[in-house]
Symmetry: C2
Subunit: 198 residues, 2 copies
Amino acid sequence: MKKAVEPSAERPVRAADRIRASASELFYREGIRAVGVDEVVERAGVTKPSLYRSFASKDELAAAYMRDYEANFWEKFEKPGGKSYSDAREHVLAYIRVLSANAVAEGYRGCGLTNATVEYPSRDNPARQVAEAHKKLFRRRLRELAGSMGARHPAVLGDALLLLIEGIYVTGQQSEDGPAQSALTVAKLLIDASVAKG
Amino acid sequence: MKKAVEPSAERPVRAADRIRASASELFYREGIRAVGVDEVVERAGVTKPSLYRSFASKDELAAAYMRDYEANFWEKFEKPGGKSYSDAREHVLAYIRVLSANAVAEGYRGCGLTNATVEYPSRDNPARQVAEAHKKLFRRRLRELAGSMGARHPAVLGDALLLLIEGIYVTGQQSEDGPAQSALTVAKLLIDASVAKG
DNA sequence: GTGTATACGTACCGGTCAGTAACATTGTCA
DNA sequence: TGACAATGTTACTGACCGGTACGTATACAC
């Protein structure tokens, strides 16, 4: 008589996964430097050696957090509000609409990848490297979308949108009543002024 | 026979001042959390008790750094490139011109006040409080300038400029080859599209 | 049953952190 | 000379940090 039912319906849930989840939550909310590995494992309900079996160091755990964050970011960016968009302008505006709504909520903490580059000025930090690579990709994607909108200078409009979005990320953490409120209007202004009319 | 010449040309330089200077440099370059008080006093050429005679805690030292940074900021903002401007549009564009030039330099670290709010999510941190108060003032000042430019909606243009500027601060630390390059063009676009023409 | 591999916990390490106590030294002014 | 204020010197604390040596429980193979 073996296990009867449920081969593994109750999930054991690997320690490494619990740690990733715990780290993601804590690192995002409080910052990477502010959170010790003890706090991470305690919240995960595991012990420290389990962490170091799956991750070489706290820095590498932070890098894993960055990769998880990035995957999640792309999902939210490519389907803002869970919806797909064929029109580039509507796509970007939808993302900014959702983003700026979140950014005026209490406790908003901006973009985890951006925050990590602020926390780690040194270029050889593993977490920072993931973040930097992501921001390059994001910039390219925004230029692409700007091109699809028919911008006269897609590079400029793409950069404009990136600057605007990063501005939302960071000002959103400064106060609940910040300039992110105006972001959607600004985005429209920017796009319309950049797209050839006649 | 007293001191002959130079009442104090060779400056004794108060320990507190040396500490402020040392802290400002280190906190800005490496981040506040990343720098220990030992490093601050060592660079200042003083000892730890001297620090704690002038500052109640590291947090309070960080708050002092914020205040110093802010004073310096206003100087640079109100006279970009050392020059005064009577025209609001030229004033803002001059600031953004200088800023974006700095932002593409290697080792650029953005705005110390912005960075501090990223490092300290908790609202009761003394340094963060200084930074938050400053950002409120800055927002008001930009709206004021937007009004002087004759914007149809000064609040929107002011916010647009703030989002843009914060975007420059933060993307400037992500890479030397970032969107800050386009910032001046974007600023002109934004202003021209916001100012009533006919 | 007895290997053997995997997954995990207990207990600990040395270092660094912010902060302090007690005392010695200096320079200034009167 | 004497008093005061500012600083340096030395040594220390307790908490926390990232990281690890080592023992333990379970499961599957033969």
